[in-house]
Amino acid sequence: MIHVKNISKSFSGVEILKDISFVFEKGKTNLIIGKSGSGKSVLTKCIVGLLEPDIGDVFYDDIKFSSLKSKDKKKVRKQIGMLFQGSALFDSLTVEENVAFPLRMFTKMTEEEIIDRVNFCLNRVNILNKNTLYPSEISGGMQKRVAIARAISMKPKYLFCDEPNSGLDPVTAIVIDELIQEITKEYQMTTIVITHDMNSVLEIGENILFIDGGVKKWEGNKEEILDVKVKELYDFVYVSKFLAKDEKIVKKKASFEAFKFLY
């Protein structure tokens, strides 16, 4: 579980996050949704410690992360896996070396054990026989899956995914979403996904935080989101005129399959 309490963050006097509190639950895919520029990525960077919040605290289970010393923060970070928007695989390393990187850096595993673990993780994300290729030699969808394999290689307790579907076709996007959800259940991780893709919201949104203009406007789950009364979220969900026209149908069925079809 990750608990953020009253987080605020400003840049050059402009308040990006305003008093945000939320509990990201263990074993669930927790979503942070909102328009571009709403503060989703800043909130995530505050949670993982890439940015220091001006006010507020972040708790990883019972550990108050925001007040830890740099050395202790590193210990917590070793339990974090992160999938970046652009995959962030190391260009100079092969697929295998990328996945093995955290294992080589932080564990005392033998080379044989590392290779076994790497192959296990790559198999888990359905990447087969690509070990010796470089990131530039594989497709965007594969890069995302390799990044997931790297993120789970250390068996993390917390998984962060920053817009995992960006730049992917709808079919690959669904595969990535399903993979994230499966892995979350399998390893009982606290997973946080930042997205503005409604398909993802309706497929994997078990616990959703909606941010608009740096303010928490709504929280709930994928079933509740279609009946939402908050104007900003309503606009976000029913952004397409087509969807707005057929809102009744969507509400009636309220199932992912129907929504995916309409989309």
Binding site: R77, K78, G86, F90, D91, M105
Partner: protein, 246 residues
């Protein structure tokens, strides 16, 4: 400017943090030795050989006189190569080749969130990315410069052999002339090289590591790295010469 200096010092301070795993850093150090040094050997040897050859022709032509012995050409080449051409000019060339390479590599890693990925994993990204580059340069650049000295003399020797502009024996005699001073000159050249290696790698790393923006800024960072490295090399060259040779 003070802010930039502070960030630069902050970067240097983080290099000295204890590595997460020594063997991983060692492997990276070896990779950097190859990347920064070994891969520069071809261009360095080519330039040095041609520069030595040209210097021989120019010097021999300029001091053609019955009153000046032929070995003076060799002696002049030695002084030029040891004192200035190899440590300073080759370092300026390396600032262009290696400096832009470092700045664009780190800048691209910043833009594509690879540095953030290292930080989230709990890796000291400065220590892991910048530290091995600086140490590798401090180790390999003096070797590259000695290599350059050898090829400079060799290039000059080849010209003497093929054109007979001066006898090869006279050329070698000139190079060996006042050999008791050679140690001082080589120490001076290598000291300069070590300082220049630090300047090139640290300034280029600074511009790459702290890059903000996108692809356009990567290009700008690369240019800034070369320009500022070159300026500081020239400045340090003057200071060191004043301190060590006078």
């Amino acid at each position: 400017m003070i802010r930039n200096l502070g960030k630069y010092m902050f970067m240097l301070y983080h290099i000295f943090f204890k590595p997460e795993k020594f063997s991983v850093y060692w492997r990276r150090f070896i990779d950097e030795v190859v990347q920064l040094g070994v891969k520069s050997l071809f261009i360095v040897s080519l330039m040095s050989a041609f520069m030595g050859a040209v210097l021989v022709i120019q010097t021999a032509t300029a001091i053609e006189s019955a009153w000046i012995p032929d070995y003076t050409v060799g002696f002049t080449i030695k002084q030029s190569m040891l004192l200035e051409f190899c440590p300073t000019i080759i370092s300026l060339i390396l600032a262009g080749k290696v400096g832009s390479n470092i700045a664009s590599e780190l800048g691209t890693m910043r833009v594509t969130e690879q540095i953030d990925a290292l930080e989230v994993m709990g890796v000291n990204s400065i220590g892991y990315l910048v530290g091995p580059k600086i140490l590798a340069a401090l180790f390999i650049f003096p070797i590259v410069i000695m290599y350059s000295m050898f090829f400079g003399f060799f290039g000059g020797g080849l010209v003497c052999y093929f054109t007979e502009i001066i006898p090869v024996k006279q050329y070698i005699l000139g190079i060996r002339y006042f050999s008791e001073d050679n140690f001082v000159f080589i120490r001076y050249a290598l000291t300069k090289t070590i300082v220049f290696a630090f300047i090139i790698t640290s300034i280029s790393s600074y511009y790459g590591y702290y890059l903000k923006g996108g692809a356009l800024e990567v290009g700008k960072a690369s240019t800034n790295a070369v320009v500022y490295s070159s300026i500081f090399i020239l400045f340090a060259n003057y200071i060191l010469t004043q301190l060590m040779l006078i």
